[in-house]
C-alpha cells in the first residue's frame, strides 16, 4: 500500500515527524534533528488480506478476491508495517558520555494488510 493522502480510507502509511527541538530534546540528542514516526492506518478490505506489501498489486488483489472464501477472515486482517528500518541516534547519556546507536525497526517504510 502507498502513502496516505487526504481521502485515503484503505491501509496506507501516514507520515509523522517529531521535531526534537519542538519537544525540547535537542539538548541531549545530537543527531538526527527529529524522528520520522510514520505509522500504518486504514481499512483492510477482504481482497487485500494476506498479501502484506503486495496489496497494491492489481493482480494479487484480484486473485485474493477470488480466493477469499469466508468473510470472517476480514475481521482479523490488520494494516501493519511491512518494511521498517532502524533509527540512528547520537546522544548524551546520563553521565555525559556520547552514545551512537541504531534502534532497530523504528521507522516504518511501508504498510500492508496481514
Amino acid at each position: 500500500s502507498g502513502d496516505c493522502s487526504g481521502d485515503t480510507r484503505t491501509c496506507c502509511r501516514r507520515e509523522f515527524f517529531v521535531d526534537f527541538k519542538e519537544i525540547g530534546w535537542e539538548d541531549w540528542i545530537i543527531q538526527p534533528e527529529g524522528y520520522h514516526m510514520n505509522y500504518c492506518t486504514g481499512l483492510c478490505p477482504l481482497h487485500m488480506a494476506g498479501s502484506p506489501g503486495l496489496a497494491a498489486s492489481f493482480h494479487t488483489a484480484v486473485l485474493n478476491l477470488i480466493k477469499a472464501g469466508n468473510a470472517a477472515a476480514a475481521l482479523d486482517s490488520c494494516c501493519v508495517p511491512t518494511q521498517r528500518r532502524p533509527l540512528s541516534l547520537l546522544y548524551y547519556d546520563r553521565d555525559g558520555n556520547i552514545v551512537k546507536t541504531d534502534i532497530p525497526d523504528m521507522i516504518v517504510d511501508a504498510c500492508g494488510c496481514t
Binding site: 524522528y35 514516526m37 541516534l89 558520555n97 551512537k100 546507536t101 534502534i103
Partner: protein
C-alpha cells in the same frame, strides 16, 4: 489482535487532530526512551563544552579505522536485529600529583546491565613531552564490590617519544566492569621522572582523553542462561 477483534489500525474512530498529535508525540518519546533503557530524558548540563572534544574524537577514530582496516565499512558489527552501541566516554579528572594522574570514566547503569562490550579503546593525547623518551605507566583500576579498595586490572608501560595520540586496548577491563554491573573505570597514569606531565597540557578540550567502546544489546537467550 485476537480472533474476532477488529484491528485497532482499521476500526477505531479517528481522534481530533490535536489530541492525536499529542498522543503520537507522547508515544514517540516513550518509545525512544524505552529502547534506550532510559527511565527519563538525561539532563545534560554542559554539552557544548565537549563539542570540540567530540569532533576531535570522531576524527581520530575515523583515522584509526582507516589505518587498521582500510575499506572496512563503519558500524558496530552487530548481528542484524540486535541493537548496537558506540560509546564515547570522556575522562573526568581525579586526584593528581606531579607524577601521577587519575582519570575517571563513567558508564550509565542501564547500559552496563543490558549490553555486552565487544571492544574498547583508550585514547590519550601526549602534548609536547620534550626531548628524549618519557616512560608512562598506565594502570586500569577497578573498585571491589564494597567500593573501598581498588585493584589493578591491567598495567602497561608506554614509551612516549613524540606528541600525538596514543591508543590502548582496554576491552577486557571494560568487559569485566560491565559483567559486574559496575559503572566506573579509573585509569592511573604515572611518569617516572618529575619533569612535568605530558598529558593534558593546556587542558585543551579537543585533546581530552576518552574511551571509545563498541557494545551490543544482550540477547534474551544469554540472559536466560546467566
Amino acid at each position: 489482535t485476537s480472533k474476532g477483534v477488529q484491528c485497532p489500525a482499521c476500526g477505531l474512530p479517528t481522534p481530533a487532530p490535536a489530541e492525536q498529535r499529542d498522543a503520537l508525540m507522547a508515544l514517540a518519546k516513550q518509545s525512544i526512551l524505552s529502547k534506550l533503557n532510559l527511565p527519563d530524558r538525561p539532563n545534560v548540563t554542559q554539552p557544548t563544552t565537549r563539542l570540540r572534544a567530540l569532533l576531535a574524537a570522531l576524527r581520530r577514530m575515523r583515522v584509526q579505522r582507516a589505518t587498521v582496516a582500510p575499506g572496512t565499512p563503519h558500524g558496530s558489527g552487530t548481528p542484524q536485529g540486535l541493537q548496537g552501541y558506540e560509546i564515547l566516554s570522556f575522562a573526568e579528572p581525579g586526584s593528581s600529583t606531579s607524577r601521577r594522574v587519575h582519570l575517571h570514566f563513567s558508564f550509565t547503569q542501564e547500559l552496563a546491565g543490558n549490553t555486552e562490550i565487544l571492544q574498547a579503546t583508550l585514547y590519550l593525547f601526549w602534548a609536547f613531552p620534550g626531548p628524549g623518551t618519557h616512560r608512562v605507566t598506565v594502570r586500569l583500576l577497578q573498585p571491589d564490590p564494597t567500593g573501598l579498595n581498588v585493584t589493578v586490572a591491567n598495567e602497561t608501560r608506554l614509551e612516549v617519544q613524540r606528541a600525538g595520540w596514543a591508543t590502548l586496548d582496554v576491552g577486557r577491563a571494560v568487559q569485566k566492569l560491565f559483567s559486574q554491573r559496575m559503572q566506573k573505570l579509573t585509569v592511573e597514569l604515572e611518569v617516572e621522572e618529575d619533569h612535568g606531565f605530558p598529558l593534558l597540557a593546556g587542558h585543551s578540550d579537543s585533546h581530552w582523553p576518552f574511551v571509545a567502546a563498541q557494545a551490543r544489546a544482550r540477547t534474551r537467550r544469554r540472559v536466560r542462561r546467566r
